[in-house]
């Protein structure tokens, strides 16, 4: 079994020692103590484990670590900049778009991916893009509102 010895996570090269067929999620959580990404289903159906691989939202629970060894990985721990929350993190707080919070990391990572692809998504596009993320507490309308607010802020800030 080939071993993976290094990962590029949140802009840092981190030493690991993991079989290439292990899930990226387990390496992030168990080996690197980056526990913000969550296990929710293990079959890519709930989105709680979502991370960005080269900017693309990816279900880390069904991604073998060997396939992403050379790619930039971004997790929830890596989207603050200089201690400032990402606009979507702030918008989630502003809209109280969470209850138990277990899906929140995955929601934010999917939302960040959407906003980087389309800085001004309409409500329908948000819903379509986020369909793979489950929130059992049912805060979906607030998450949509948060993503919409973050989009406005990012646009405003870019001007």
């Amino acid at each position: 079994m080939p071993r993976i010895t290094e990962l590029n996570v949140n802009g840092s090269r981190l030493k690991v020692s993991a079989d290439a067929d292990r899930s990226l999620l387990s390496v992030l959580r168990d080996d690197l103590d980056l526990t913000g990404s969550k296990y929710g289903c293990g079959e890519g159906q709930c989105g709680a484990c979502t991370v960005l691989i080269g900017g693309v939202p990816t279900r880390s629970c069904i991604t073998q670590v060997g396939t992403v060894a050379s790619k930039p990985i971004t997790t929830i721990e890596g989207i603050e900049s200089n201690g400032r929350l990402h606009p979507l993190q702030q918008a989630m707080l502003d809209h109280d778009a969470l209850q138990c919070g277990y899906c929140t990391s995955g929601m934010i990572m999917s939302g960040v991916a959407l906003l980087s692809k389309n800085p001004g998504p309409g409500e329908e596009e948000v819903v379509r893009f986020m369909e793979g993320n489950i929130c059992r507490c049912g805060t979906y309308p607030r998450i949509v509102a948060a993503i919409t607010q973050a989009a406005r802020q990012i646009k405003g800030g870019a001007k």
Binding site: Y39, L98, Q99, C100, E131, N133, I134, R136, G138
Partner: protein
């Protein structure tokens, strides 16, 4: 200030009968390790926490055996909830200790509001320690929407007493008349000269303990300044940054990963197991104890591999399947003669009522088993140190889990500590300590901390379910809309929400317990969803049989002012009476009450006959639960309950056969997603003159009947089973 305050009544709320999981035997009873057993009991010292005396106090002074506090039968009185503790450090830091736990219902925030209000301290200066059995007073659990009506008043009293003590200290230190002093913003201020002492200055160098009585006056709701306002989740930042540590995120030095080998079917017995291949793996320990077989390994992948290598032979009896579920329940009532379930609020005579009716109706309604499916599956980290067990686990009953662990390992509760980090939801599904027991058993065998996280499939299979049920209703109604007879029988799903506020002259309402093919237990709102579904669907059927407007029909039979108020508020906001149903579009409504909350729900649906699909377009729900504590979080709970209710209304159902769940994953068990959410409008009815009731549960009960009633208007098809599924035959017959 104090003249505005009055003692807050603490409402005594009984535990509902259908919390089956609280009365069931533990999942495992491990064999006694005699040596250790005696070592622990003989040589141990009793660590007497204040908890011990509190326990004696709350159980009416009855001495209990060391360490008994949790699981008791429905007829025995377990300890009741008691107040929390409050501590102000010499630096002015305020710490509140409560056995209640946070599972997303945002009580960490609402309880902080209550304390901030009475103490006169900023919310940010207050920290809550919740659900740690070594640190917090005993609490029977976070369920039944009890925190707001029972714990918040207690913490208010503790905070008010602390404030009074601080005022005493300040009067002494400043050498002034106490009446010139006011508490606020974390300090006591002399109103005359504006001289102020912070709480930290006042508590510095003190060692004062005060026992409080129940009659400490607290602020009435119409004087609230902190409560009654929206406040953001107090530790929200930890969640949006991924920093919060759930039980499944805890890591301990030298920790191993556990995995349980699951039985081939429910109630199967382990006959034999070949564990050689698993044991040959480096660092793997296999534990077999009675019906329990599990492994611990240095990493999770290895634990899973080891578990797969174990060849276990299980023996299981034949079991019913979901196809024959309702027949099975009807044929397996467990009540004995003379003890035919609860028939509270019986009135008049059904025979007389039916004789006086112009129309009679008899219908049967069913609800499926559904799963809680919290996003965080059950998880635990267990660690034994010097014969003492510490477990971090997501549970709504940390003290109940402590009892389970003490019983399973035959040790006193004083040697068990359960710590409950704020958890990835429960919805009534995390009352038991299954994962905690499993992790603790593996940790005991290996002498190392063990983490055990259930897979989604395990969560779907080995947790317990919301009870399925069969409900029979016989009714009689006069042409003017007066209901003359109401006979209601609920088999198995439970008695919660079985009562109503309608003025029925003749009624009989009975709950019949039955033998459940699956392990069942509490769920958000318990059977109130089933009972409201049946009742409010049947009310709709009566209204339509008389060609009466369903709203008018309900109001005709209702005098209860609170029930009428929410019904009228929802109907008004929805535009009931102005909205016209059209082909394939329908509107429906429902109302009810439970756990001190009053709810009315209106729904508009669109039906795609070809695809046999129902789409919710709009939901308006009015809710009243007394004085509102945090309007935005209340709204969040109601919206969330509506969204969660969509699953039970339209697609969630556990399927099983041969003692196995056949749809135990999100790809086969459909839960509501973004695209299922309609436009939701919440109407909050604030009653500052009434004590606050909880709101985590009751907002879920109204959606299913409102949707079913709307589907009937859209299609002419009356659906009497949850989940509501359009029948191909009838739909095609109409197209």
């Amino acid at each position: 200030m104090s003249d505005e305050r009055k003692p807050t009544d603490v409402v005594e709320i009984p535990i509902e009968l259908e919390r089956y999981e609280l009365f069931a035997a533990p999942t495992y009873r491990f064999n006694v390790d005699r040596r250790e057993f005696f070592k622990l009991f003989g040589g141990g010292i009793a660590i007497v926490f204040t908890l011990k005396s509190a326990l004696a106090q709350e159980s009416g002074g009855r001495e209990r055996q060391a360490g008994e506090s949790g699981r008791r039968g429905p007829n025995t009185s377990g300890p009741k909830e008691i107040g929390g503790w409050l501590h102000i450090g010499e630096d002015g830091a305020v710490t509140v200790f409560t056995g209640k736990v946070e599972v997303g219902q945002d009580i960490r925030t609402s309880l902080t509001q209550a304390v901030a209000e009475e103490l006169g301290a900023p919310m940010a200066s207050i920290k809550l320690v919740m659900g740690d059995t070594d640190l917090t007073p005993y609490d029977m659990g976070t369920f039944g929407s009890r925190t707001t009506p029972t714990m918040a008043p207690q913490l208010r009293k503790a905070a008010a007493a602390a404030r009074e003590l601080l005022l005493d200290l300040a009067a002494e230190q400043m050498q002034v008349d106490r009446t010139t002093l006011v508490a606020g913003d974390g300090r006591i201020t002399n109103q005359k000269n504006k001289q102020a002492l912070s709480y930290g200055q006042l508590t510095h160098g003190q060692k004062l303990l005060k026992q409080i009585s129940d009659d400490v006056p607290t602020a009435p709701a119409d004087k609230w300044k902190v409560a009654g306002q929206s406040a953001a989740k107090v530790d929200g930042r930890d969640f949006v940054t991924g920093k919060h540590k759930y039980a499944s995120d805890i890591k301990r030095p030298g920790m191993l990963y556990g995995k349980v080998v699951r039985p081939s079917a429910f109630n199967a017995t382990l006959v034999s197991a070949d564990t050689k291949a698993a044991e040959a793996l480096a660092g793997v320990t296999v534990v077999r104890d009675g019906n329990f077989i599990g492994v611990a390994a240095p990493d999770a992948a290895m634990a899973a591999q080891a578990a797969r290598l174990i060849k276990a032979d299980w023996q299981a009896a034949a079991q019913p399947s979901s196809r024959e579920l309702f027949e099975y329940l009807k044929n397996h009532k467990t009540e004995t003669q003379g003890n035919e379930g609860s028939s509270a609020n019986a009135r008049g005579s059904i025979a007389d009522g039916l004789a006086a009716a112009d129309k009679k109706l008899q219908q049967t309604y069913t609800v499926a088993y559904i799963a809680h499916a919290p996003m965080e599956p059950r998880a635990a980290v267990a660690e034994w140190t010097d014969g003492k067990l510490t477990v971090w686990t997501g549970t709504q009953r940390p003290f109940g889990v402590r009892t389970e662990l003490a019983e399973a390992f035959h040790i006193p509760e004083a040697r068990v500590r359960v710590i409950m980090p704020d958890t990835g939801a429960g919805y009534g599904g995390k009352h038991t300590g299954d994962a905690a027991l499993e992790a603790a058993r593996l940790a005991k065998a290996t002498g190392k901390p063990v983490k055990l996280v259930w897979t989604r499939e395990e969560e779907f299979t080995w947790a317990y379910f919301r009870p399925a049920g069969v409900i029979d209703i016989t009714s009689g109604v006069r042409n003017d809309g007066t209901v003359t007879a109401w006979e209601f029988h609920n088999i198995n799903s439970g008695p919660a929400g079985i009562q109503h506020k309608y003025e029925f002259a003749n009624q009989k309402i009975v709950f019949h317990p039955a033998q459940s093919p699956l392990r069942q237990g509490s769920y958000r709102g318990l059977a109130a969803t089933a009972n409201h579904f049946a009742r409010e669907t049947h009310m709709d059927e009566m209204a339509h049989s008389l060609k009466m407007d369903p709203l008018e029909f309900r109001l005709k039979n209702l005098q209860d002012e609170r029930q009428r108020a929410v019904l009228e508020a929802a109907a008004k906001a929805f535009g009931w009476g102005k909205l016209k149903s059209s082909a394939d579009r329908g509107i429906g409504l429902s109302c009810g009450f439970e756990k001190g909350g009053y709810v009315a729900t209106c729904a508009e649906v669109a039906v795609d006959r070809q695809a046999r699909k129902v789409r919710l377009l709009r939901v308006v729900e009015a809710f009243e639960c007394g004085a509102i504590v945090n309007p935005d979080h209340l709204k969040n709970q109601i919206e969330g309950a509506i969204v969660q209710a969509i699953g039970g209304a339209l697609f969630e159902a556990i399927e099983f056969e041969g003692g196995k769940i056949t749809n135990a994953r999100f790809s086969r068990y459909r839960v509501p997603r973004f695209s299922d959410v309609p436009k939701i409008e919440v109407v909050l009815v604030d009653r500052k003159d009434l004590p606050s009731a909880g709101a985590g549960e009751t907002p879920i009960v109204g959606l299913a009947p409102a949707v079913g009633n709307a589907i009937f208007v859209a299609t002419g098809q009356r659906l009497r089973s949850l989940p509501l599924t359009l029948s191909e035959h009838e739909i095609n017959g109409r197209t």
